[in-house]
Amino acid sequence: MSNQELFGLTRKGSRMVKAVLLALVACVLLAFPFLAQNRYQVHIINTAGIYILISLGLNIAMGYAGQFNLAMGALWGVGAYTAAILNTRFGIPFWLNLPAAMVAAGVMGAIVGLPSFKVRSHYLAIVTIGLGEVINIILVNEQKLTGGADGIARIQMPSFFGIPINTDERYYYLILVIVVLGFLVARQLLRHRIGRSFRAIRDDYQAAKAMGVNTAYYQILAFVISAAYAGAAGALFAHLNTYISPDIFEFSSTLFIMTMTMVGGMGSLAGSVVGGLALPILQEYLRVIRNWQLVVYGVAIMAVVLFFPGGVMGVMRRLRSSRALRWLSPGKSAQEKLQAEETNVPGN
């Protein structure tokens, strides 16, 4: 009985701690453009926000549904080019381009995902890499539509009810809103039927199928959702930088996105946020050491893979469950104590 009281109390306490922390984070996020030392820092964070969005998409497909989608860079390009072409040719504003880019990328994502019916693991990896390459080659070669290797310039920045969103500071809030929305939507999706089906397919494809999960539908859905995230990120990217070219969306960008997702933690949405923020910032700091930066980067990737395969979020989880740091989240520890006692009962 005392356990239960303790449980209720600490749960209330931890909820308070959580609320305070959340409020703090919200304040920092809202005030960031005023806290930043210069415009360039805001620009880096804006770019990081765009990467977080793509990383969320990749995480849904790979971390939750177990579907290798290594065409993410190219799908990001599809979104960016859709927005850029609609804006520069037809003068369509950002607010319509954003859903258009998501739809266009989503359709391409479904096409990229079709092979997942037939092939899995490394075969699916190379097939999606190949299709991504094909998309990129189309971007380079369809010069009439995409401007070829020169790319598309003079994309307009958006405006919000007459207020032009034409500085990095203003754009920051646009990205913030979309990233927060994207995060919440992803969390909601993964908590419900879709998320359960994704995990069932990831953990045991045959068993999921036997239990009546419509595997084909959910596999394609995973590709479409991840592509839609990449598409939204593409529209944001095109309207932020006002210039895009196909080399941005090459396979190396997929690798960069995959790296940040793995560093943050594959299979954890918070991991995408951590990785998406950390890597672009890290890259900026590593610029000081010039050529060595990519070497350090490569060594860091290998270290994460070999020593912390769960990424940052995996380390956090391990810390939280370790005895030494239990006081950090009292609610959890009480719950665990309760569980431990329950499981001990039959033993006695």
Partner: protein, 296 residues
């Protein structure tokens, strides 16, 4: 259609295809013996090319070593690199594909950028040790270096088969690839066999790079495209199968050459990848269709 030009295109495709095949062999052999998909293979190919060409092109103390010796030195140095890499790959091979992918890509990153630091990012052309004038046979013009590439690769592939089928170490290697536990119970040092596999795979990649260097352009970024195509070739033939890697490489090379010559030169890469995707859709085990070890 001019039959002479067609044959010329095919021979060019076979030349580049043997380059892909040698790189693909590295992927397949390592996958078969360690269950590891080594995405650093492209970088290993680049490193091997430098290991040989620097001696030949006078980049080390102005030495101009004869081409055959440079070739041998490059192969040996890269084989040593392969042995070292076994230590890094051993823990990686136990992880999920996702982690292998990223870990080996990380390694490739390190190698690529170390070579940018050492030799600079800009590449250079390599003079062929053979005359530059094409040989004309029945109206078909072929570069002597292309013949050397095709002949050398063919010799290496035959040599590899003989080694695997006839020698004691080759048999031990195949045994350890087939079943680690039973092989080690029989007294075969499995880790050493894996190191040997990596050494051979890296040596073959170096040979491919050095033989093709006078035809392609040498720079630290040369590995990524060839690495990706080599992997596509290995998958095309059936990952883990040695004849499959050879067939996959040749098919991929010919496909690329034919589509460049007859369909569209700007879509070459795309067409080759598209055909690979279609082949995998129709026959996921690859064109050779050998049953390969599948980790469940």
């Amino acid at each position: 259609m001019n039959i002479g030009i067609f044959l010329q295109t095919i021979i060019g495709g076979i030349g580049i295809g043997s380059l892909y095949a040698l790189v693909a062999l590295g992927y397949s052999m390592v996958y078969r013996s360690m269950g590891l998909v080594n995405f650093a293979q492209g970088s290993i190919y680049m490193v091997g090319t430098y290991f040989g060409i620097i001696w030949y092109a006078g980049m080390v103390m102005g030495l101009h070593v004869p081409y055959p010796i440079a070739l041998l030195v490059g192969i040996l140095l890269n084989a040593c690199l392969g042995v070292l890499l076994e230590r890094i790959f051993r823990p990686l091979a136990k992880l999920d594909l996702m982690f292998m992918l990223l870990g080996t890509i990380g390694l490739g990153f390190v190698l690529d950028n170390l070579f940018v630091i050492i030799f600079g990012a800009e590449g250079f052309a390599v003079r062929s040790p053979l005359p530059n004038a094409p040989i004309v046979v029945l109206g078909i013009r072929i570069l002597p270096q292309m013949l050397l590439l095709i002949g050398g690769s063919a010799l290496l592939m035959v040599g590899l088969q003989v080694f695997l089928k006839r020698t004691r170490s080759g048999k031990a290697m195949r045994a350890s690839a087939m079943d680690h536990d039973i092989a080690s119970a029989m007294g075969i040092p499995v880790n050493r066999m894996n190191a040997l596999t990596l050494a051979i795979g890296s040596g073959l990649a170096a040979a491919a790079g050095i033989l093709a260097a006078p035809i392609v352009y040498v720079n630290p970024a040369m590995g990524s495209a060839v690495g990706l195509k080599g992997f596509a070739a290995a998958i095309l033939g059936g990952l883990g199968s040695i004849p499959g890697a050879i067939a996959g490489g040749l098919v991929f090379g010919v496909l690329e050459a034919v589509s460049a010559g007859y369909i569209s030169s700007s879509y070459t890469r795309g067409i080759a990848f598209l055909v690979m995707v279609i082949v995998l859709m129709v026959k996921p085990s690859g064109i050779v269709g050998e049953v390969t070890v599948e980790k469940v």
